[in-house]
């Protein structure tokens, strides 16, 4: 029996979909069977981030309404055997699926996969409620900005009200150089305010843009800093005890050195 994890944030644009793609790919790379579920009906994107957009025939709404079998709608990843995507519908809206249907779907997926990772839409309306309906645990993604942290706080409250206690936090797009200058909230500031467990910190990395352009998650790129952070997050999800990456603020010699080593591999 697998575990259903919902990735949510409240605010849009903090990197939920990127996080889902990378954690999922990371877990699959570790040898687990993983299915990624896009619940952002009407604004689907996970397919594009994974580079699977032109293979979609059936989607989550077809499954929920019994128009096709669950197996027909699952799309296998191009790179990893044990990674699958259940895409969202693009021509419908959030009301096309109910919370009950989501619970049932998660239950079914849990039987066949080690991890079911749900990409939650931005906002706290029906789409959010659907996404968290079948989840066993929640991960909240935020960035070191006032608006994102505020929305994360709201979402943590809603998750707790829905019975998803103690969600984990991922701080995304942290810029060590700006933290050092005192122009960006650091990890402690955010944890202090939100009072939740930290699952990982992902540095701002332009490789993410490149990997999204290509449709290849950064976690597969050994040279990407963000990719390394996501690899560690995936391992922590499986229960491995890996210390949080202490970000080197001197993005210079160290990073260059790291990249050189990475390239040699």
């Amino acid at each position: 029996m697998g575990e259903v994890i919902v990735i949510t944030s409240g605010k849009g644009g903090v990197g939920k979909t990127t996080t889902v793609a990378n954690i999922g790919t990371g877990l699959a790379k570790e040898g687990y069977s993983v299915v990624l579920v896009d619940t952002d009906i009407g604004l689907r994107n996970l397919d594009v981030v994974l580079g699977l957009e032109n293979r979609i025939v059936y989607d989550i709404v077809d499954v929920a309404n019994g128009h096709c079998r669950l197996k027909q709608a699952l799309i296998r990843d191009k790179r990893l055997e044990s990674l699958y995507l259940l895409p969202a519908a693009q021509t419908k809206d959030k009301t096309a699926v109910t919370e009950e249907q989501m619970k049932e779907l998660c239950q079914k997926l849990k039987e066949d996969f080690d991890y079911v990772i749900i990409d939650c839409p931005a906002g706290i309306e029906q789409g959010f409620k659907n996404a968290i309906a079948g989840a066993d645990r929640a991960v909240v993604v935020t960035t070191p900005e006032v608006a994102a942290v505020r929305d994360a706080d709201r979402v943590i409250g809603l998750l707790e009200a829905a019975g998803l206690n103690e969600p984990d936090l991922i701080i995304n797009r942290l810029r060590p150089d700006m933290v050092k200058q005192g122009n960006m909230m650091d990890i402690d500031d955010i944890i202090d305010i939100l009072a939740v467990d930290l699952l990982g910190v992902v540095p701002e990395d332009e490789m993410i843009v490149i990997s999204t352009n290509k449709g290849e998650p950064a976690v597969l790129d050994s040279r990407s800093n963000a990719g390394e952070a996501y690899r560690n997050i995936a391992k922590r999800i499986t229960g491995e005890d890996i210390p949080i990456m202490l970000l080197e603020a001197n993005e210079g010699i160290m990073a260059l050195f790291k990249r050189l080593i990475g390239r040699k591999k």
């Binding site: 900005e145 006032v146 706080d153 409250g157 200058q181 005192g182 960006m184 650091d186 500031d189 305010i193």
Partner: protein
């Protein structure tokens, strides 16, 4: 360069933008976290009417209950129009 000078003269601690962000966030969250659902506010109103009616005759429709947040301190503000005083204290009412 400017930054270096600022650091040398030790005057950057207070106006670091991260501290501004933290402070603003803290204020916003105090407000967010104490916001009360309309359902609970309604129940509170009912109970207040019940208690106050024992002593005073009030205009129930004109009753206003709100939370006020000023200077980082939360207050319950109620405006209760009184129709008239009750002469006797009525245990049952």
């Amino acid at each position: 360069m400017l930054e270096l000078l600022q650091r040398l003269f030790g005057r950057d601690e207070a106006d670091k933008s991260k501290n501004v962000a933290k402070e603003r966030l803290r204020l916003v969250l105090v407000q967010d976290r104490c916001s009360i659902s309309p359902h609970i506010l309604e129940a509170l109103k009912e109970d207040m009417i019940g208690v106050i009616s024992k002593y005073l005759e009030i205009d129930e429709k004109g009753l206003e209950v709100n939370f006020n947040n000023e200077d980082n301190c939360l207050a319950l503000v109620a405006s209760i129009p009184i129709v008239r005083m009750k002469r006797t204290y009525n245990e049952n009412k």
